[in-house]
Amino acid sequence: MFAVLTFDRDPVQYQDVPAQLFSWIQSAGGWAAFGVLVWLLAGYTRMRAEDRARIPVWQKRVFAASVGVSLLAYLIAGGAWLTQYVPRIKAETAIATYFFSLIIGGVGALAAAGLPFAVGLSSLRFRRIWALAKLSFKEAVRNRVLYGFSAILLVFLFGSWFIPYKPEYQVRSYVGVVYWMMKVLLLVTAIIVAAFSIPTDIRRQTIHTIVTKPVERFEIVLGRFFGFTALMTLVLLLMTSVSVIYVLRGVDPAAAEESLKAREPLYGTLHFENTGNKEKGTNVGREWDYRSYITAASPNQEPQYAVWDFAEAPSFLADRDSVRCEFAFDIYRTTKGFENRGVSCKFEFQTAHFNERDKDSYNADRSRWLSKGGLFSQKDLDDWLDGYRTRLTNLSLGPLELNERLDKKRLRLIAQPLPGDPPQYRLSDAAIEDELAEEYGYYVVPAKDITDYHTLYIDVPAGLFRNALQARAGAGARPLLQVRVSVTQQSATQYVGMAKYDLYWRLDDPKSGHEKAAFTLNFYKGAFGLWLRLCLVIGLAVALSTYLSGVISMLVAGMLYLGGGALDYIQSIAQGTAPGGGPMEALVRLANRQVALIPLEDSTAATLATSTDVVFRWFIRRVLDLIPDVDRYDLTSYVGEGFNIPWTQLVLDCGALSLYLLPWFVAAYYLLKWREIAGPT
């Protein structure tokens, strides 16, 4: 199976929120400041005295205060920026000042720009928005917009012809094709419907009968937005439901067994040992350095380890029989000829309580107890408990706790007595492994065959987690749990590549039998990502269309969306990290036939080009703020690879989308308010 989830960037987390919020305030605040400036210069000066007099005094004051604060903060920021040319001032102070004054400037500008908007919001009425939303909904339905969606039938009818059959790809392909088709159909329709609605309303003058009713103009924007969103939501729900049935019934049983699931991973952090660099293993020269590689140690070297640290684990894992550790690695072969033979790796699982010196005693105990064939005499058990007592005394536990642990263990060991005299006790191999794991905080799989890019697993006795989650006496600063992977000697010369997200614990229970249900829920969660993108394009197109014509709104919204798909590349240009530099530098290179990786030689043209590019980059960065980060809403790979989409992701995506759309809606509020509805178009 090929279920490997790779991340271009780390999954979103709650602790990233403040940083993102700050950067949002900076960029949205910058735009707000720009808007306020334009309004002050072009709008306020042209305003007639009567109209100026009509603005309530308190609003004028708050506005002026916000503008003042913002202006001051931006001046300070500018000053801080200039200090980089003054050698005596400490860089950190300057950077901190710059950062915070940009935030304060942003907050001030946002307050100024948002004040009339916020005041205007108070006169909105839900019932009118609802009426307008219903109207938009009806309009789209009665104009037969929905007929276009029947194109999805093509997938259902002929999908199986072009979707590969191989079980390892099947679910991913099905999910990919179905989501892609839904995405294209829904997004294209949504953009068109949303972009043309208000302009058509204005062109046909139907809007005249609406704005001459007691309707706030922004209610029209919201009505359109909610109406189309509701429509698309219904269509999406319907399509998703049909699709999920199609996928569930369409895939082959073998593929279903393999991939119809929604794993809930517990990720750790990865570091390497004995590779020369803690962050990285060996670079094998693969162009994409997502993974780092380790190999078996040569005779006089320390073995290389890839180590995953888990700082915490939920306690319910301790209540299971075993906890599954899943992994999928990349193999880089330096010798040919073993294509079908896997590379073998050693897996060691150890808790914070594990003592490195106990390794030998663990191994001795393990082979001794496993050799008993599952039958234990009273003496065996006493030996076992004695050994345990010895190790516990080293832990400097209180006498009460020591006895308690010993008693508990004794009860577990004698849980299955066999009739007869002398008494014997039954212990399965799994139970023995479990006891040992709990006792030592250690579990090892000495040689596990790894195949390239296949997800494999080890069911680790839950005793390990019971050990890990004990009171952390003597554990020190070590992580709760560690998974140490090394390449065994028999696979010398082979490299195994791994990345942070290649190994994880399964938080969901793979033996629960709810895998299909989990997959179905996950499929809907994936559709939620599409829903967010639908909201995004509808909001964007509606907001743009308050000022632009239908065609232009459609094109701009479409381009912003596509630009969002290429955001990473555009960002690399903006930050000057793209090889070959900005457009002017590239032009100079083109003219001189120079390779992109060699620095330009010092010529006037070159200096001019690179400094033009600095300005260019500044503009690009401002434009970048406008481009939505659409990729973050694409959750297809989660569903396709069978990984549960974390709720955190959905919640934070909602937040990110709201923050992105808010400034557009504020702009739409002003644009429509100032627009002469019956004026020249």
């Binding site: 009806k138 009968t209 001459t212």
Partner: protein
């Protein structure tokens, strides 16, 4: 501001500009008018004289280039004033995919009317504008006159105090035009204020209390219709049960000369085409199945019909026009 003044414009000016802000057309120049509570006010003028522009300025659909407009004492851009306004646009621009009932329901919602009130109001208005049979048909199938009717119903959904009608009779047949004019008079009887734009002079003359005449965006005349239209130099006299004869003419001339006047014309008054048309339609309703056949007399004008028709002049009535000699 006087207490019963509902609409007031002060130096209201509108210059249409193009995208680049260049002046293209001065549609309205320094208009000063006042419209009072309970009157029917006519905005008159040839095509392109700025009537619609004025109305749109009053409604906040356009923003004035200069000057101000107040409706109910609030600036025209204020949304709140719309609670008490009904507006029938020049052409009824409504949503063509809705039917009459849905249209009225939709506009009712915009006024926050509760559902039960919306329903009764819609039925009442549909009946009033005579669209009962077509209430379930989408508006795209409506004829121009039907659209005008539903447009009017839409304008009345909130029981407005001020009704602004832009060319209310355009697209209506004479029967419809008469119905519209009666309706306007009814509204006035209810104490509502009506502003109507028109270049159909007879409509304006029939219903308006006061008018303003615009030309090229400038106010040309403004005042009460009666006063504006009265020709103080002439006197009109109508008499009935008389035979038109030379004797009569001579006697009258003599009588008038005695008073220092002069007889201009004497003869039978002609009816307007509108009146004639209305009568014909009435008659055809009274005699179903009858139709015009070439070569025959047009529909006979029977005594009975003539007498029952109050608008038409009675046979034998004659008009005399007298001009003051001085």
């Amino acid at each position: 501001m006087q207490k019963d003044v509902i609409v007031e414009t002060r130096k209201l000016t509108k210059i249409y500009r193009d995208f680049w802000g260049r002046q293209k057309k001065t549609a309205l120049r320094a208009l000063n008018i006042e419209i009072r509570q309970g009157e029917v006010f006519g905005l008159l003028g040839p095509n392109g004289s700025g009537k619609t522009t004025t109305v749109k300025l009053l409604l906040g659909l356009l923003y004035p280039t200069d000057g101000e407009a107040f409706v109910f004492g609030k600036p025209a851009a204020d949304v709140g004033k719309n609670e008490r306004i009904g507006y029938l646009p020049e052409e009824s621009y409504l949503y063509r995919f809705l039917d009459a009932e849905e249209t009225l329901d939709f506009y009712g919602r915009l006024f926050n009317l509760p559902a039960s009130q919306r329903r009764t109001k819609a039925q009442e208005l549909i009946e009033k504008v005579g669209l009962k049979a077509d209430r379930k048909r989408p508006l795209r199938e409506y004829s121009k006159g039907m659209r005008q009717r539903i447009g009017l119903a839409q304008a009345l959904i909130n029981d407005p105090d001020l009704i602004i009608l832009d060319e209310p009779t355009s697209g209506l047949d004479p029967l419809g035009a008469r119905w519209m004019k009666d309706l306007i008079c009814d509204l006035r009887a209810l104490g509502k204020t009506v502003i109507m734009c028109s270049h159909r002079l007879e409509d304006v003359q029939d219903v308006c209390d006061r008018i303003a005449i615009l030309n090229e965006g400038e106010l040309q005349a403004y005042g009460e219709v009666q006063t504006l239209l009265q020709d103080h130099r002439r006197i009109e006299l109508r008499a009935s049960d008389l035979q038109l004869s030379d004797d009569l003419r001579r006697d009258l001339e003599e009588l008038l000369r005695k008073h220092g006047g002069k007889l201009d014309t004497i003869g039978h008054p002609t009816t307007t085409l509108e009146d004639y048309f209305l009568r014909i339609v009435e008659e055809s309703k009274a005699h179903p199945g009858r139709r015009f056949l070439p070569g025959k007399e047009p529909l006979p004008r029977t005594e009975k019909v003539m007498r029952s028709e109050s608008i038409a002049p009675t046979e034998g009535e004659s008009t005399t026009r007298i001009t003051d000699r001085g």
